[in-house]
Symmetry: C2
Subunit: 367 residues, 2 copies
């Protein structure tokens, strides 16, 4: 059947042979030009490019994939891109993938989705990808994935992605430790922790960092309150903490919860940071402008996405090379106005209902 006839699916788009005919070369030469292979004379290249331009030629990626076995694309399994962290990570991944010459296929797995991560991976495999990024997964208790393409796990143990997976992370544990140490350094006897949902590896890492920092100083470890990342859960936790004696410092596992927490404390008549200091996690865009401006910790999403993708691309293109270890991302604590030394007089002296003092400026201080 001739091209352009009624065969459904037959498109009218120009093919390599059309360009070849027009340029007076073989189809293979057109292929060479579009793959930037060597051994094509400048003159031939020019003619091919010109012919392609005139025809509006575009490589057919399905044909390419079928013939070469390579898709030149990377699949991403993302969870809850509504959250600041995962969303930021996705942006970094997209950029890094594009820079490396890979297109992106995205599957979102909302928490509680049937099939979960495994199902998402399966669907990516069906679409055809050269590698897979599992971004900030939650622990579903499933056995590790077994796939035949390289896997990069972001923000979780490499083992999560199967035996041959590589991993990269924001170093959440070190960041959490820094946040906790900042509070201890201000003189607080201990630090309470408002944790994220413990099904998330990201939440566990932060808890672990907090625990480590307290242990290093031999401090008492108060009971952990577990939130769900939302400001609403931070708010609920805040009311709970306000009713607890001896709370002078709280490390929240993300900024949203910290903001809800601050609000609840304030409503309960506690001043932040005079009575209670609060540290968040993420450095979301508004955290410098809430009242008081939030001391928080900034995650190096770009660096992590970039590093991680480098590992993944290496695993795809040079499967035998030893994977270079991911570099340790920098710890960046942003000190603003929600933290201060503990109150010198006991909690009994807390002035209920008093308004808090005008906080310091919103300009972040990096340390």
């Amino acid at each position: 059947m001739a091209r352009g006839e009624a065969r459904s699916g037959a498109s009218t788009a120009p093919r390599g042979v059309d360009v070849a005919r027009r340029a007076g070369v073989s189809q293979k030469t057109v292929s060479r030009v579009f793959n930037s292979e060597q051994y094509v004379s400048a003159e031939v290249r020019r003619r091919v490019l010109e012919a392609a331009e005139e025809l509006g030629y575009r490589l057919n990626s399905a044909a390419r994939t079928l013939a070469s076995g390579r898709t030149r694309s990377i699949g991403v399994v993302a969870l809850g891109t509504a959250l600041y962290g995962p969303a930021s990570l996705l942006i970094g991944i997209e950029r890094a993938a594009r820079d490396a010459g890979y297109a992106l296929r995205v599957v979102n797995t909302l928490e509680g989705d049937p099939g979960g991560v495994a199902g998402a991976v399966e669907s990516l495999l069906e679409q055809g990808v050269d590698g897979i990024v599992v971004s900030e997964p939650i622990d579903e208790g499933s056995v590790s994935l077994s796939v035949d393409v390289p896997v990069l796990v972001l923000g979780a143990p490499a083992a999560f992605g199967g035996p041959r997976a590589v991993a990269a992370g924001v170093g959440a544990e070190a960041l959490a430790r820094a946040a906790t140490e900042h509070l201890l350094g201000l003189g607080h006897m201990t630090v309470h922790h408002l944790a994220g949902p413990q099904r998330w590896f990201a939440a566990r890492d932060r808890l672990e960092g907090w625990r480590t920092a307290l242990a290093a100083r031999g401090r008492e470890r108060p009971a952990v309150i577990e939130g769900d990342w939302s400001a609403a859960s931070g708010y609920a936790a805040g009311h709970e903490l306000a009713a607890t004696a001896g709370v002078t410092a709280v490390f929240a596992a993300n900024d949203d919860m910290a903001i809800g927490l601050v609000r609840a404390l304030t409503e309960a008549g506690l001043r932040v940071p005079d009575d209670v200091s609060v540290v968040g996690f993420d450095d979301i865009p508004v955290s410098a402008y809430v009242t008081p401006p939030l001391t928080t910790v900034r995650q190096p999403f770009d660096a992590v996405a970039h590093d991680g993708l480098r590992l993944l691309v290496q695993a795809i293109e040079k499967p035998d090379a030893e994977p270079a270890p991911a570099s340790d991302p920098p710890v960046e604590l942003v000190v603003r106005a929600s933290t201060a030394p503990p109150p010198t007089r006991g909690p009994a002296s807390r002035a209920r209902g008093s308004a808090h003092a005008p906080p310091a400026g919103a300009t972040p201080t990096t340390g």
Copy 2:
């Protein structure tokens, strides 16, 4: 060359014929089963499925695409997924696409990217997509795109996506009008507007809604301040507005700017809402927990993504059918504590440096 030999790219994955052989049928029958075609006996279907299961067979999507001309995937051009609106929209698009049986290819175009939207579209076309979603584009002054697949434009005029494009939107103009009317209804003589960057269609729509609401009541239209969506720009605008006489109500084009704005006003000694009322836009998760809880407007991202994708899929699968018009999304104003009637005494009576009264609870009131 036999399968499994050294030809690079030759994978060892089972093919349709392998399944066919095992099930004792032809390869075509395997294809029928996996495409849910009719005219396959239950017994044959069962055998095929069983054989496929045993072999771990998976359809090869590149081969499918090449043979059928259909990719079963949709490309998304997203801008600045770091922002709450675009990120939320992307989640909705992903879900709607998956429900419709399409995979997603995503290209991020950061503002100022060379090539911009046109370049992103070109790269999607190269990857192979059956349709394209342009999500919340900015006006780059480029002529409209001309592509040979259906285009859905989200949050901008359909014309932006070319002659045959369809469009859907959050109804930002109506939402902005509602926000402005809420303030006027409280008794404010006029409402100032802190606009988003006017290269964004989304920002223009909000400005237009504000303008319309003022015009409808014949009110004076104050000079517009243009921000860049960030809390920092809202903060700068806030200091500017604090120095302007007669400002009693401000409508900010998003919540981040509103939060920065509130902070600047507060620092300048103005109380929100006693001296100045502020309305945001988006209803970001923390807006209920900042001080005071922010009155804002909620965008129906899910509904829009869903509706829009329905249009796009229809354009892909039934190109000749008349596109059903997108339904008007609901207007949802969330009234919290950042808005109140204007101060009865003149601005001169504003108590500089006084702390603001404890705001009302953070529970949203929908109206």
